[in-house]
C-alpha cells in the first residue's frame, strides 16, 4: 500500500504525458482527417490520387517507423526538412498517421449519406460547402461515432509508442519502475489508469450518441 503511493508520482506524471499526446494529436488529427476525406471524394483527380497514396502509406507502415523517420530522418530531407524536438515530432507523427485512419472513417460516413440530402440542399440554393457544413457533416458525425470511438481508444494506447523517442508516457513510466524495483505492480496500476481513461472516453462517446439520438436516421 505504502509502495503503491510511492510509485504513484511517476505514473501520474506519465499519465499526464499520455493525455497530452493523446489530446493534442486527437484535436489536430480529426480536422486533418476530415480535410483528407473531403479531398478523397472531390472531383479533382490529382489531389485525390495523392491523398489515396498518402492514406495507403500512412496505414501501411508502422507508426513507430513513421515517428523515427520524422524525428531522425526528416532533418535531412531537402526543402521540408526540419529538426523537431521529441514532443512536436511525436505529435506530428501521430497526427499524420491517425488523420489517415480518421479520413477513412469520415469518407465512409460521408458516402453513407443519402444522395437525396445533397439534392434537397441543392434545390434550396445551398452551395457545396454550405451543404457539407450545414447538412451533411452534422449527420456524418452521428453515424461515425462508433468507429471513431474505436479508433480514439486505440490512439490512447498507441501513445505509448513515444517510448522510441524516450518520452515518459504512462506505460514507459511503469516499465521504468518495473526495471528499477523488479516487480510487476506498476503494470497493474498502469492498466487501471488506462482502463479509467478508456472508461471516460467510452462514457463520453455514449453521451454523444445519446445526444444525437434525438433524431433517427
Amino acid at each position: 500500500m505504502d509502495y503503491l503511493i510511492r510509485i504513484m508520482g511517476p505514473l501520474i506524471e506519465g499519465t499526464g504525458v499520455t493525455l497530452q499526446v493523446f489530446l493534442i494529436s486527437f484535436v489536430f488529427a480529426v480536422p486533418l482527417g476530415l480535410v483528407l476525406a473531403l479531398v478523397r471524394i472531390s472531383r479533382f483527380a490529382v489531389p485525390r490520387a495523392l491523398v489515396n497514396g498518402y492514406i495507403w502509406l500512412m496505414r501501411g507502415t508502422p507508426l513507430m517507423l513513421q515517428m523515427l523517420f520524422i524525428y531522425f530522418a526528416l532533418p535531412f530531407v531537402p526543402v521540408i526538412g526540419v529538426r523537431l524536438p521529441d514532443f512536436p515530432a511525436a505529435i506530428v507523427a501521430f497526427v499524420l498517421n491517425y488523420a489517415a485512419y480518421f479520413a477513412e472513417i469520415f469518407r465512409a460516413g460521408i458516402q453513407s449519406i443519402d444522395r437525396g440530402q445533397y439534392e434537397g440542399a441543392r434545390v434550396l440554393g445551398l452551395s457545396y460547402p454550405q451543404t457539407m457544413r450545414r447538412i451533411v457533416l452534422p449527420q456524418v458525425f452521428k453515424r461515425i461515432l462508433p468507429p471513431l470511438s474505436n479508433e480514439t481508444i486505440t490512439l490512447v494506447k498507441d501513445t505509448s509508442l513515444i517510448y522510441v523517442l524516450a518520452m515518459n508516457d504512462l506505460l514507459r513510466a511503469a516499465r521504468g519502475i518495473v526495471q528499477r524495483d523488479f516487480t510487476t505492480m506498476p503494470f497493474v496500476v498502469a492498466a487501471a489508469f488506462y482502463l479509467a481513461m478508456t472508461l471516460v472516453l467510452t462514457l463520453g462517446f455514449q453521451h454523444l450518441e445519446k445526444r444525437y439520438a434525438v433524431y433517427d436516421g
Partner: protein
C-alpha cells in the same frame, strides 16, 4: 539552439558549453529514476562530477537505447554515457574514452538450476537483452553459442529474469553490474555461475569528429580516477572500488 533542449534538461540559463548526455533512464544501477522521479545512478554521478570539473552544464537526455546512434549522429545528444560497452564495431562509428569500468558478462540462473558451467548450457535456452553487448559476447564464444538451443533476445532484462523464474528460460547473460543489481533484490532466487562470457570495458562515447570534446572528457576522467573521486562514486553504488585505472 534552445529549441532543441531536452525536456529533462535543466532549465537554468545554459552556459556556452552545455553538454547533452544521452542515457537510457531505465538502466539501473547506471542510470534510472528514483522514487522522486529524479535521475540517479553510477554513471549519472560520474557525469555530473565530470561536468562540474569541465565547467560545463550537463544536460541529461533520456533516449531509447536502441536509437542511440541516431541520437548521437543527429546531434541531439553529444555524449553517450550509460554503461556503453567498447566494441570493435562501435569503435568504427563512435569515439571512445579509455575504459573507466570493467564489466563481465555473467551468467544468471535460478537458485535451483542444475546448471554449473558454460558447458551445461548446451541444448538450453539462453536469454540476453536485445541490443546489449551480451549478444556479441555470447557469439564470440562460438563453440558455446553453437551448442545453445536458442538465444532469445528480450526487450529488457526484467522480462528475461521473469522468464527465467517461469522456467521457460534456462540462463541469462547480462552485464555484471546490472545482473548483480537485480539478483540482490531477490536474495536466494538467483545464482551467478562462476564462469562468464569474458570481460569488456565501459567507455564514454562521442561523435567521431568531436575530438575536441573527447580530449577534454578524457582529461577530466583521468583526473577523477587519479584523485579518488571516481573511486568514491564506485563505493557509493557498488560497495567497492571497481574503477578501471
Amino acid at each position: 539552439g534552445r529549441k532543441d533542449e531536452a525536456p529533462a534538461g535543466k532549465v537554468a540559463a545554459a552556459p556556452a558549453v552545455a553538454i547533452v548526455v544521452g542515457l537510457d533512464d531505465n538502466f539501473p544501477p547506471m542510470g534510472y529514476r528514483d522514487e522522486k522521479n529524479a535521475l540517479v545512478g553510477f554513471d549519472i554521478d560520474l557525469a555530473r562530477e565530470a561536468g562540474k570539473r569541465l565547467g560545463a552544464e550537463v544536460q541529461f537526455k533520456p533516449i531509447d537505447w536502441n536509437a542511440k546512434e541516431a541520437e548521437l549522429n543527429s546531434k541531439r545528444v553529444d555524449v553517450l554515457w550509460n554503461g556503453l560497452t567498447i566494441t570493435e564495431a562501435r569503435k568504427e562509428k563512435i569515439l571512445f574514452t579509455t575504459p573507466y569500468l570493467e564489466n563481465r558478462q555473467i551468467i544468471v540462473v535460478t537458485d535451483q538450476s542444475p546448471l554449473r558451467t558454460k558447458a551445461d548450457l548446451a541444448g538450453k535456452v539462453v536469454g540476453v537483452q536485445d541490443g546489449s553487448s551480451a549478444i556479441e559476447a555470447v557469439e564470440k564464444d562460438a563453440a558455446t553459442a553453437r551448442s545453445l538451443k536458442e538465444l532469445k533476445k528480450f526487450g529488457d532484462n526484467v522480462t528475461a529474469l521473469m522468464d527465467l523464474g517461469a522456467g521457460r528460460l534456462d540462463a541469462l547473460v547480462v552485464d555484471e553490474v546490472v545482473g548483480r543489481y537485480y539478483t540482490a533484490r531477490k536474495p536466494g532466487e538467483y545464482r551467478v555461475l562462476d564462469e562468464n562470457f569474458g570481460t569488456e570495458d565501459y567507455g564514454v562515447g562521442t561523435r567521431k569528429d568531436d575530438t575536441e570534446l573527447m580530449a577534454r572528457l578524457q582529461k577530466t576522467l583521468d583526473e577523477m580516477k587519479n584523485d579518488g573521486a571516481a573511486a568514491a562514486i564506485s563505493t557509493k553504488w557498488f560497495g567497492k572500488d571497481i574503477i578501471k585505472k
